[in-house]
Point group: C2
Chain length 197, copies 2
């Protein structure tokens, strides 16, 4: 590839360097018992890690209080809050469990693992067993096996969680703004069937 | 904790079991050169993995054609498409590079790593150097160091990428639907300042 062709194809591109990207990040609360008390941390670096067995991954700064509890108990939860819980969620991102007792912010329940606190008010709670801890520098990634998914009938459509009923919200990092989910745009695994490149 | 208290606190909760969750998943295209040709795969299991150094993580089913190229070159890209690219993105999720040549679906450019193809039309492209491969069962997670972030001036506000200009979109797994980003709801690291639990 010649440099001329490369320049042309790069068009108006500018290189911002090695930076954490901004995109719509799903906001979740990571629950862990720390020193015997329920604690919750607001997090946006979360994803599914595998389909079979079902696993999730969450990248937490090593300085967080929550990490101690995950390692101690080998369990944690992923609690997906709804729009109406924005203030309480943001509170759990602003104040560390090392100085603020967050065990009474929410009504809490426990599932079969006994040590992964979950938030009754959250439309969806994933109860997780710790599988791996990956060292990524400033952050450690906790990969967990989902052992149970707790929800309520009112959030279901056709026996599956309906995100239009659960109303999760998103974080944009660059403008430090929470966003609502928008409107459906197209069917996945369908909209591109007749696309002609 | 007594069983009585536990039942009460669980309220109307039902356990759906060990399942991959549905939440608003950011849709990205993973770019890799496979057998010398640019290939792109639509993916929604993507997250930031670390702040310092900046890293991303993406969980790909082991059967995907793209994985071969990531391992061969030790490079890949994360290309964040805009709403107007939904059909082309979905096309890249429907058809495997093993049977369909996707090297001409988009105008492509390369950066300093030389082997991580990126999509000119995408508002944001992350050029990544492979750091680790994590085996998670059906999926392998590629963790990459971000070496460059390519965008265009028209997507910036205050010198940072503005997602209201880039217009990324989201996937809901359970209803197989792409969603637009909605409206800003509240300021992050602020809305919870005066929250009283």
């Amino acid at each position: 590839m010649s440099n001329v062709r490369m320049r042309r194809e790069m068009g108006d591109k500018i290189d911002l360097g090695a930076k954490v990207p901004s995109y719509p990040m799903p906001v979740v609360l990571v629950g862990a018992n720390v020193k015997g008390k329920a604690n919750f941390l607001a997090v946006a670096w979360f994803t599914v890690a595998a389909h079979t067995p079902p696993k999730v991954a969450v990248a937490l700064n090593k300085a967080h209080y929550t990490n101690q509890g995950v390692k101690e108990n080998k369990t944690f939860s992923i609690c997906i809050p709804s729009e109406e819980m924005i203030e309480a969620t943001d509170y759990c991102g602003l104040f560390s469990g090392s100085k603020t007792d967050k065990s009474r912010v929410f009504d809490v329940f426990y599932g079969k693992l006994k040590t992964a606190p979950m938030i009754t008010k959250c439309p969806v709670n994933l109860e997780c067993s710790l599988d791996k801890v990956i060292d990524n520098g400033s952050n450690e990634m906790f990969i967990g096996d989902i052992v149970s998914t707790y929800t309520e009938k009112k959030y279901l459509t056709d026996e599956a969680v309906d995100i239009r009923k659960a109303k999760p919200f998103l974080l944009s990092l660059n403008d430090r703004q929470y966003f609502a989910l928008g409107e459906p745009e197209a069917k996945a695994w369908s909209a591109g069937k007749n696309y002609k490149p």
